[in-house]
């Protein structure tokens, strides 16, 4: 059977559209299964700030942290992104925690003495040996301790 060029183009466009729909959604189910358990023993505050990042992309959130509380900030990323790091900084821009300086850990536990806002910035770096086209879901989760 002869397949027309038009049919091939249409099929390609369709498959790209479908696949882009599939990768453009960060599944809540994935976040709940893969990420939320890692918040324990802290209580997850419930918000799942998740998005699809490509190599080179960034995401961020400014959050309020209350005095007298213990927190965990957890960054959860799909394995397609091999080089995800995060920074936590105060509102003057001073870096308080850099995961790259701590063996690229995916979480940071801390206590807060002064109620304050901090910025959490997540970066999806380049995969080693990759072609720069990898993408994956990345989520910022916060847990607190109930006393």
């Amino acid at each position: 059977m002869k397949i027309s060029t038009k049919a091939i183009v249409l099929a390609t466009v369709f498959s790209l559209a479908v696949s882009s729909d599939v990768v453009s959604q960060c599944s809540k189910t994935w976040v709940r299964k893969k990420c939320v358990p890692k918040v324990s023993p802290f209580i997850h505050n419930g918000q799942m700030n998740s998005t699809l990042l490509k190599e080179g992309d960034k995401m961020e959130s400014v959050m309020t942290f209350y005095s007298g509380q213990d927190y965990r900030i957890l960054i959860c990323a799909e394995e397609t992104l091999e080089n995800v790091s995060f920074l936590v900084s105060d509102m003057t821009g001073k870096v308080l925690y850099d995961s790259k300086a701590h063996n690229n850990t995916d979480f940071w536990d801390f206590k807060v003495k002064t109620t304050t806002e901090m910025r959490v910035e997540v970066a999806a770096g380049k995969n080693e040996g990759g072609n720069g086209s990898a993408s994956g879901c990345v989520s910022i989760l916060v847990g607190f301790k109930s006393k």
Binding site: S61, T64, M91, T114
Partner: protein, 299 residues
């Protein structure tokens, strides 16, 4: 959570602890800390998230400040039958969600079940009952004496409702739900502070100013009359908060707890936490009571 993605650069004009003006100079690396390079690329707007404390977190703060549970403070379950419009149901799903969190944090088993039923009723009216599911209610009842499980179930239900409303293209209802939850949380804090004269709770009330700013940003993204009304009322509340002095420059330091090694974050130049004098407290109490009572009495 598309409705919560905003352009942070415009939002910074409203946030009280906004970053300083952009600099054309590179950051410097100090001995103990590093300054972010202000020439870095701006984060894409769709990847910037608003973070608003959950009702569970607000209730936890109240408990740690010494609050006690009182059934007289929360919205009566009997009111659930009067809410018939989308706006009334969404707002009061937030209100009942806060009441549920309040009951859960204070280990009030019977009240927890009762308020789970109220929130389920609202969710049903908004066609997002699947976010709760019969299994979730069963899990709650089965684990009612396991506090961490109860809090986890409550939290998951709240945010699943939020997500489902947005998926159903009811982002205005999602915003109203979050607003209702926040308003009830602040109302409960004010009522507890009023009856106990507890200064720690007054301090916590002042600390809600930043989340109020974020909530207004969230609401203003919605072009819907019902949302505009609540946003207008919250902006009137914001005017009261804006008169309070700001006693922090946002500069923090990180040290280590000598016993556990855990990081400790505190102000570089600590000052006495901001509280409220009698007049300031009354103004906030009166305004939040007006807004909240308007929500629980609307049909």
């Amino acid at each position: 959570m598309k409705a919560h993605h905003i352009i942070i650069l415009s939002g910074l004009a409203i946030l009280p602890l906004a970053c300083g003006p952009a600099s054309t100079e590179s950051g410097e690396v100090g001995n103990d800390s590093a300054v972010i390079d202000l020439n870095k690329e701006v984060v894409s707007a769709e990847n910037v998230f608003i973070y608003i404390p959950s009702p569970i977190q607000t209730a936890e703060l109240l408990k740690q400040a010494g609050a006690k549970y009182s059934v007289d403070l929360v919205n009566s379950p009997e009111n659930a039958s009067i809410y018939t419009t989308t706006a009334a149901m969404a707002l009061n799903m937030g209100v009942y969600g806060s009441d549920l969190a309040f009951a859960g944090i204070f280990n009030q088993s019977a009240e927890t079940i009762k308020y789970m039923d109220c929130t389920r009723k609202m969710a049903d009216g908004l066609h997002v009952l699947a976010a709760f599911g019969d299994d979730r209610k069963l899990r709650l009842e089965t684990n009612i004496n396991n506090r961490d499980s109860v809090l986890s179930i409550i939290t998951d239900s709240y945010w699943d409702c939020d997500a489902m409303l947005q998926d159903n293209e009811q982002s205005h209802a999602s915003a109203l739900m979050i607003a209702g939850g926040w308003i009830e949380g602040l109302y409960l804090a004010c009522r507890v502070a009023e009856s106990t004269n507890n200064n720690d709770i007054r301090i916590r009330i002042v600390e809600q100013r930043s989340s109020l700013d974020k909530l207004i940003i969230l609401l203003d993204k919605q072009e819907h009359n019902d949302v505009t009304l609540i946003s207008t009322q919250l902006k009137e509340l914001k005017l009261i908060f804006d008169k309070l002095p700001k006693n922090t420059d946002g500069s923090l330091i990180e040290t280590k707890d000598p016993e556990t090694g855990i990081s400790v974050i505190e102000a570089e130049n600590p000052t006495t936490p901001q509280s409220l004098n009698a007049l300031e407290f009354k103004q906030i109490l009166d305004k939040i009571t007006e807004v909240r009572n308007g929500i629980i009495t609307r049909s």
